[in-house]
Amino acid sequence: MGNTELMTGNEAVSRGFWENGGIFAASYPGSPTVEILESMKKYSEIEARWAPNEKVALEMSIGASMAGGRTMVSMKHVGINIAADPFMTFTQIRTKGGFVLVIGDDPGLNSSQNEQDSRFWGKFANIPVLEPSNPQEIKDYTKLALNLSEEFGTPVLLKLTTTLCHGRAPVQLGERTEAVVEGFVEDQGRFCMLPPYANKQQYFMQERIQKLREYNNSTSINALTEKADADTLIITSGVSYQYLLETQPNASILKLAMVYPLPIEKIQELSSKYKKIIVVEELMPFIEEILKANGIKAEGKRFFPFTGELTTEIIRKGLYEAGILEEKPVINEKNIQIPPRTPMLCAGCPHRPVFHILKKAKAVVMGDIGCYSLGILEPFEVLKTNISMGASLGMVQGVASTLRKAGKSEPLVAMIGDGTFFHSGMTGMVELSKTKDNITVIVMDNRTTAMTGGQFTPTTGEYLEGKGDHTISIKGILEAFGIKDITVLDQFKYKETKETMLAAMKREGLSIIITTRPCALNFKIKEPYFYVDQEICISCRSCIGVNCPPISMKQYEGKDKKNSYINPDMCVGCSVCSQVCPVGAIKRSQKEEA
């Protein structure tokens, strides 16, 4: 094996960046790209930084590139939406230090709020898009991206997907080659995007994309596998290529490495040799539409779904319908007779008591993005909206204003986590700071970005008492915004929390509640477990309503009714269930069992 190592796609990105002289990498956590920056941290030559959001990550990277360094910024697909403002102007500039933007799409929405197809940014921003199909290619294309970036003066989009980011395969390792960093050389005509400088860059981008198209027509990075006497050409890219190989179609295959700008002339020439041109691509008909617009009779979405991940069997089915596979594929149906298993808040999760109280209070709550989004699901069903990070705050004002104008005002609540607060909640808070409507904002400060694996937030340090990074106080920020009605509380004191929340929801104007219990999972919190004394339990099921994974109703021997049961291996001893039991049947064990 020698120099070969098993790597995930995410690790291969980092390795490729390191081998090719990368010096600055920034990101904001989000599935599926989290491990890119995490695995970058082991390379001491690279400064790897988590930013408070994708926009800042991109802006730091723009600076690094302008200073002449080889730069990478990585994010999940929706991250680029918030970074789009600097991005759409940066792309006009002739790039200096090699600049790679890595975006991880999530077809099938494994852990996302939408399914947007990032290849469209290539067309929108006039930049090339590379789509690798396995970890080795991911590493190779990272190198290619850095080189193309400097050669053509363009940011390059390396587009991955969940399966590619997380999948593992052998990768050939190389040594690091240092890249020369020229430094920041003043050049206003190049770096100041205002008229007249910016006008002229429209022509520059046009020419740049034209040159890239010529490059793509002549390069060997797009692989053609010709099958003698096949009358079909299948055009594909990314991980779909690997699935396609499994189906062994009787067709020639053109596997594209660069999906924008497409090598149109090359495809035109090729397609004249075939009766049928089939495009196999995940999500939108990106390649298909460009081919059609250029007069190539390609078909794709007629046979393949526009949503969800492709799989070998979906491709088999599509190829059969397109008349390319002769045998009708036999596909075993999924077993849907069994209970689904949706995600749940962990045992001891600090978000749980807050949901429990809001449910009882029948509050109208605008939700946000984080572990607390699970409050949408059964049995809480407390959050009534979920759009994008930070959106709850602006939305709650919009709802309040409209209800007031219509004479239908009612108390409203918005919920946001500490991670999301710093990501994009603060500007919403500025707007809310002057509201006269009855709005309560609950900031769930669990001291981390829990959902994406527990990256630090600016409040982590406060909890770790100086052991973490420097800290920023959310309360301090809100006070500086002129907000007066702020309560900081420990939500594991159930009764007090309930009273405080109910009172706040009655008050006119803005009230803020900041909950401070830390994430149980990421800070590995485990206290002596609780158990149910069946002699006392009256089977009322109040504890079941708390919805903690260790608690279920169980048939004990010699009893006619079921009683509550707490699995001691799973309970982490937060005490919340014991506080909602009306008869005191839930008690703390003496010491933690090994």
Binding site: T163, R168, Y243, T312, P343, M344, N547
Partner: protein, 189 residues
């Protein structure tokens, strides 16, 4: 030889990612081409999670095609039922005697299926039902539960014992190497 396809099924938080990694590295060290995949993300919070390892002379897709999985390693009983459409006829199923109730069972809206092992056997699968937690406990630490299951799996795969031991050593926390190896050996007895 053809490709060996292993599906690992479990519940978020059960340590499935590490199991998938160990199997992948063991196959890699043994000199096979390998591809693996897993779903991590939102489902990490107690939802359905799965991993796949495919190894052989040359492997393309990291995802096991429908009906082609040779072995299912079920870290939990109900989750073992969820992926039968991916299994070959007569495939091996190593199933942990562990029931973790999903949300709808906890809130009494659905029942946890009964007699899962018998059901799988009646469908023609070769089922090895393992009380991994108990074996782990007698080996000295319940946290070695997944390694116990890997011990059973190791007996079905063309990967040398030494390769497994080396891989386990490299992938579990240094302090727990000995206890993990004891658990691995015990489950192979």
């Amino acid at each position: 030889m053809g490709t060996t396809n292993i599906l690992i099924a479990g519940v978020g938080g059960q340590g499935l990612v590490l199991s998938t990694r160990i199997i992948s590295y063991a196959a890699f060290k043994e000199g096979f081409d390998i591809k693996s995949g897993d779903v991590i993300g939102l489902s990490q919070r107690g939802g359905t999670v799965w991993g796949s390892v495919r190894f052989g002379k040359e492997v393309h897709s990291p995802i096991i095609p429908n009906g082609e999985a040779d072995i299912l390693l079920g870290l939990e009983e109900l989750e073992s039922l969820r992926w039968l459409h991916l299994m070959r006829k007569n495939a091996h199923i190593i199933i942990n005697k562990q029931n973790i109730f999903p949300n709808r069972v906890l809130i009494e809206k659905e029942e946890y299926p009964k007699d899962i092992v018998a059901d799988l056997k009646s469908k023609g699968f070769q089922v090895d039902s393992v009380d991994a937690r108990e074996i782990a406990r007698t080996a000295g630490n319940v946290k070695t539960e997944n390694i116990v299951l890997l011990g059973r799996l190791s007996k079905l795969l063309p990967i040398k014992y030494e390769t497994w031991i080396e891989t386990i050593k490299e992938n579990v926390p240094a302090k727990t190497v000995d206890i993990n190896i004891i658990a691995f050996n015990k489950s192979r007895e």
